[in-house]
């Protein structure tokens, strides 16, 4: 079977672009704190979601709704309503991270297909099977801490479909288990659906040297004219011992395009692209390229080479944890 391309959409226009570019599946979220890309001006209201799902279905694509933050105590109803609305909008599945919310969805919306978000960081076969047995989860998005052989080992031990990230932003920490952002800014992926938020970024120019700060902490310094990457905490520059460097991860993004054949052999069902905050043209290009790659693979043709380098915006690329030496 051809590998499924799962593409992000931050707006109805991006969703339509992805559908037209050949995405098998699109994932998106409601415009509130229930999803982990809760950025200003992004995401779907209920009417947009209903219309977008209808558009996608009309063109043979599926829509997954990410409700993947952790419901706030006392306000669970907001997340419960999101699950109900995803179902009534016709979503093909919801992507959930919180165990309590999975339990709720399984009991109250048994016919709505459930996927486990990467934010749940299910990193071994026992956990994957446990989520399947307990909450009827049909697909698990694997955390970005696993090597390809480890992914193969998980697939050998489970019937649950697996989906892996192949392109875009890269979490260095186990997803859903990181509060670096809220430590520095008070806003976190788990609670607010944001990481290293733009509202807390400042750039300061000191005689031709540009400092990038997050929450008042200087974590990148560049000569004027050099690239100034966005100051994401885990990709910042720090000092420990004698060394000043990118101690956690370089300012890189993930590109596993050349590992697609190995991921298929490892039993992976779907390839996920990060970036609901990305533009329509970006989405179109990435989808076209990945669709070309999985179609080539299916037909036994060689993969197109270096197809996505131009989309990385000058950023370095990594295959991340898929190669064991990354650790």
């Amino acid at each position: 079977m051809v590998m499924e391309i799962v593409c992000p959409a931050g707006t109805p226009a991006a969703l339509r672009a992805a559908v037209k570019a050949g995405a098998h599946t699109i994932y998106c979220g409601f415009a509130d704190e229930t999803n982990a890309r809760n950025f200003p001006g992004l995401n779907f209201d209920r009417t947009e979601m209903r219309e977008s799902v209808a558009f996608a279905h009309h063109h043979g694509s599926k829509v997954l709704v990410a409700i993947n933050t952790f419901p706030r105590a006392g306000d669970e109803a907001i997340w419960h309503r999101a699950v109900a609305d995803a179902e009534s909008c016709g979503a093909d599945a919801v992507i959930l991270a919180d165990a309590g919310l999975l339990d709720y969805a399984a009991r109250h919306h048994p016919n709505l297909r459930r996927h486990l978000s990467v934010q749940a960081a299910a990193a071994n076969a026992d956990m994957v099977n446990y989520y399947a047995d307990t909450f009827g989860v049909k697909r698990v998005v694997l955390p970005r801490v696993l090597s390809v052989p480890e992914i193969a080992a998980i697939n050998a031990e489970t019937e649950v479909e697996t989906e892996v990230f192949v392109f875009g932003g890269l979490c260095v920490m186990a997803e859903g288990r990181c509060s670096l952002s809220s430590y520095a800014t008070g806003r976190s992926p788990n609670m607010n659906g944001v990481c290293s938020p733009a509202s807390h970024v400042e750039y300061h120019d000191h005689n031709g040297v540009l400092d990038a700060q997050l929450g008042g902490y200087t974590i990148h310094r560049a000569q004027k004219g050099d690239a100034a990457p966005y100051p994401t905490l885990c990709k910042g520059c720090f000092t420990a011992g004698e060394k000043t460097d990118y101690l956690f991860e370089d300012p890189v993004s993930l590109n596993a395009e050349q590992l697609i054949p190995q991921l298929q052999k490892a039993g992976v069902t779907a390839l996920k692209i990060e970036g609901r905050q990305r533009s329509r043209s970006y989405v179109t290009q990435v989808v076209r390229n990945f669709r070309e790659a999985v179609d080539a693979l299916e037909e036994g043709r060689p993969l197109p080479q270096g197809m996505l380098a131009r989309l990385s915006e000058g950023q370095a690329m990594t295959t991340g944890a898929y190669k064991k030496t990354w650790r």
Binding site: A99, D103, N124, D126, Y130, L146, A153, A184, G186
Partner: protein
């Protein structure tokens, strides 16, 4: 208010490890959670000491539980987890995978690295046998209050992160190894020289984080000294104190005096600062501020 000693997050020599628990046995803490939380490669170095420490602590009247690893991925780690639940002692779940190994109906406790953010998750864990939950340190007092109320109705003990460097993240990658130009598999135990983790500063030289192998901690020592009354009023019945290499037994005594109303929060902070003057405190997660923030007693009283 009970006091719980968290598992040692750092890599200490087996002698330091054993001496630490001998001292803990002499303190007035109620409960001790021990074992390896952060990195499975460290465990063989002190595994042989664990039964003796458990015996000593139980003889001293402490409740004892064994922690799971925080991130279980490798086959070896899954085997360790299966062995852990076989030991017959209460297990503190710090990775939900452990639930797959626990026989149905077994009681367990839940550690601060499991995402318990809301009533639904709390109820679900309780239905499986959770009798005690240490909430994630990221939670503000407003959430703690709601969860403690729910827990009280269910008969579950709620604990909060009371003191110590905050566990902010866990990764598949070892940063200590990376710092030394090595990979995790060939780490040569780069973390063993840093008994309280390795300081990570910003480009302005500002203390910020602490590196601990695959774990990232805060630079600051979180403390609840200014929120004891609010936590008690909310129904929180236990505080977790996270081990540090210097002055920990004394720190336990200080917190005991505090929860028994024999001294105030400032006095505790002064006493701790007297032992380790270079440390910084924070309570921002609890007050709903950014985690690194620290309230003064006057501000804390208003939150």
């Amino acid at each position: 208010m009970q006091l719980t000693v968290a598992p040692i997050p750092f890599f200490w020599s087996k002698d330091t490890w054993s001496t630490f628990y001998e001292e803990i046995a002499e303190t007035s803490v109620d409960r001790v959670v021990l074992g390896e939380l952060v990195c499975s490669k460290r465990l063989p170095f002190f595994q042989g000491q664990i039964p003796g420490a458990i015996e000593r602590l139980i003889a001293a009247g402490k409740d004892v539980a064994l922690t799971s690893l925080a991130l279980i991925t490798l086959k070896r780690e899954r085997k360790l987890t299966a062995d852990l639940v076989e030991m017959g002692l209460e297990v503190e779940v710090n990775d939900l995978s452990v639930l797959a190994y626990l026989p149905k109906g077994t009681n367990f406790s839940v550690g601060p690295l499991v995402n318990v953010y809301n009533e639904g998750t709390l109820r679900w864990l309780t239905s499986l046998g959770a009798t005690r939950i240490c909430l994630p340190p990221e939670l503000p007092l407003a959430s703690v209050e709601i969860l403690a109320k729910e827990a009280e109705a269910l008969g579950v003990t709620i604990e909060v992160w009371g003191h110590g460097r905050l566990p902010l993240a866990i990764s598949g990658r070892c940063y200590h190894a990376r710092l030394h130009g090595r990979t995790k598999d060939n780490c040569q135990f780069a973390c063993e020289d840093d008994p309280d983790g390795l300081d990570v500063a910003t480009l302005d030289g500002q203390p910020f984080l602490t590196m601990n192998g695959v774990q990232t901690l805060s630079d600051s020592y979180a403390t609840t000294v200014h929120q004891i009354d609010q936590l008690r009023a909310a129904g929180v019945t236990a505080l977790r104190l996270s081990p540090q290499s210097q002055g920990f037994a004394d720190l336990c005594h200080q917190y005991r005096a505090l929860v028994e109303g024999q001294c105030n929060g400032e006095a505790v902070l002064n006493a701790i600062s007297g032992q380790t003057p270079e440390i910084r405190f924070s309570d921002g997660f609890l007050t709903g501020d950014r985690g690194v923030a620290m309230s003064t007693p006057a501000i804390a009283a208003r939150t």
